[in-house]
């Protein structure tokens, strides 16, 4: 019986030592638990010694004391077994706290990163907006400059036409003067009122004619507002030729107009369209200046490939396409004239292209002279 108690006590104490050893793993507090383990091992060793001596009948075993010792050892071991999960929980709480801390740190790092990224994105966005704004401003500036150049070019053209236009104005003015003098003579001789009336009517008509010339001129010289309206290019050709009339006549040029009365209207700035036509016709007239014999310019309007097309063809010397790059003809500062600036056609091109049209040079189909064409999309096609 005593031997049995001693063996139980030994087993319990070794188990307690083992439990204590296990707690090292759970808590990580090596030294504390090693001390306790060692104490249990010592107690187990004492039991083993007692067991050995009892077995050889060298020692009396106090069963009562040994039973209490087993109970104490059992309680201690249970305590150790119970303390394990508590310590585990505590350490887990610590871990959770540590994890929480880490999480919070990670969170704040993430937030910082998000902030940084957002700031970077915002700055990129701002740069982008600035660049868009800059580009818009540049486009606007370029448009204004183009308009100024077109206006300047119109003024230059007008300067060139001025002598002719002055002559043109002189015609109705001298008609006014003549009819007024005629009326005066009629009055002096007690003239009939119907003659006076017809004279006065002529005066009025001539004054209106002079006014029309000035109006056309003023329109052409004005800084064109960006207003585009539905216009008929055939009518614009007629108006343009009127402005050029004196120039055409003084160079003894015959202008044939072959105008399509059914031409589709285009959405365009009338003054700028006039400018293009005047430029092309004036170039043709200038090219004929040195020509002896027949001097002809044919201005044609037609529908071609769904576009309203204007062509200006002369029977002059033409352009030496071998020497001249036909594509360069429409570039700025490119001129075949001895006194030219090379601006006219470049302005024509920028005007036509701004109207989503096309301008080009082609050899005169009749093998003589120059032929310029431009086309503008019709109003309907543009709406689509």
């Amino acid at each position: 019986m005593a031997i049995l108690v001693l063996i139980s006590s030994l087993v319990v104490q070794l188990a307690a030592a083992y439990s204590s050893l296990r707690l090292i793993k759970v808590t990580g507090k090596k030294r504390a638990w090693l001390c306790i383990t060692f104490a249990f091992v010592l107690m187990a060793a004492r039991r083993a010694t007692t067991l050995y001596r009892a077995a050889l009948d060298l020692q009396e075993v106090d069963i009562y004391a040994e039973s209490i010792a087993i109970a104490i050892s059992l309680l201690l071991m249970m305590g150790l077994l119970l303390i394990g999960p508590i310590i585990h929980e505590i350490s887990r709480a610590d871990e959770v706290a540590a994890l929480n801390l880490e999480l919070r740190a990670a969170q704040s790092t993430l937030e910082e990163q998000v902030h940084a990224r957002t700031a970077k994105l915002e700055s990129v966005n701002q740069q982008l907006q600035k660049s868009i704004h800059d580009r818009e401003r540049m486009a606007e500036k370029s448009r204004i400059q183009q308009e100024q150049l077109a206006h300047h070019s119109r003024l230059v053209t007008m300067g060139e036409l001025l002598a002719g236009i002055a002559h043109e104005l002189n015609q109705p003015l001298s008609a006014v003067s003549n009819h007024a003098a005629a009326c005066q003579l009629q009055l002096n001789h007690g003239g009939r009122s119907e003659l006076l009336a017809s004279g006065l009517q002529e005066i009025s008509a001539a004054a209106i004619r002079a006014g029309t010339i000035i109006k056309t001129l003023r329109g052409f010289a004005s800084k064109s507002a960006q207003t585009r309206t539905s216009i008929d290019l055939s009518r614009v050709v007629e108006k343009s030729i009127k402005l050029l009339d004196a120039d055409i006549r003084s160079h003894s040029v015959h202008v044939d107009m072959n105008l399509d009365s059914e031409l589709a209207p285009v959405n365009a700035n009338e003054i700028q369209m006039q400018q293009v036509i005047i430029n092309l016709v004036k170039n043709a007239v200038d090219a004929l200046r040195e020509q002896s014999g027949d001097r002809r310019v044919r201005v044609t309007t037609s529908m071609a490939d769904g576009f309203a097309r204007v062509s200006v063809v002369d029977n002059g010397p033409g352009i030496d396409v071998e020497a001249e790059n036909p594509n360069a003809l429409l570039d700025a500062f490119h001129t075949t004239k001895s006194d030219g600036m090379g601006i006219g056609l470049a302005v024509c091109r920028s005007i036509v292209e701004e109207h989503r049209g096309r301008i080009w040079y082609k050899d005169n189909p009749n093998q003589q002279g120059a032929a310029f064409y431009f086309s503008i999309p019709p109003l309907k096609a543009e709406c689509l």
């Binding site: 002055a166 002559h167 002189n170 003015l173 001298s174 008609a175 002529e202 001539a206 006549r249």
Partner: protein
């Protein structure tokens, strides 16, 4: 009252008509030609003897007023010429007078002075 005919050469019909109206009011009859060539053709074809004077625009399509003057001189005609120019520069004036123009008017001019000039050449049979 009869007088010699005044020939007006001007390609601007409105301007030519106004000269004709003025001359009519002053008691002259006139004929209008819208080009130097048409006048010359008519003149050479009919050799009219009733022309009192020629009112000639300098700037004309084709043959100019000055060229017509020279052409007339070549044909030995002595019709007095009154030149009218839109822009009577010294050069035009000298050239016109050298080619036998009696007077050079610059547009716009006083119509009554033109009548005086015409009256000088077209002796009235009254």
């Amino acid at each position: 009252m009869t007088s010699r005919v005044v020939c007006i050469v001007d390609d601007d019909v409105q301007a030519a008509n106004s000269v004709q109206a003025l001359l009519h009011a002053a008691g002259f009859s006139s004929r209008i030609f819208t080009s130097a060539e048409s006048f010359l053709d008519d003149f050479l074809a009919h050799k009219p003897s009733d022309i009192g004077c020629l009112i000639l625009d300098v700037r004309l399509p084709g043959m100019t007023g000055i060229e017509l003057q020279q052409e007339m001189q070549r044909h030995g005609t002595e019709i007095p010429v009154i030149l009218i120019s839109g822009h009577a520069t010294e050069e035009v004036r000298e050239l016109g007078l050298a080619n036998g123009a009696s007077q050079v008017f610059e547009k716009p001019y006083d119509g009554l002075l033109l009548v005086v000039a015409v009256r000088k050449h077209c002796a009235m049979d009254d």
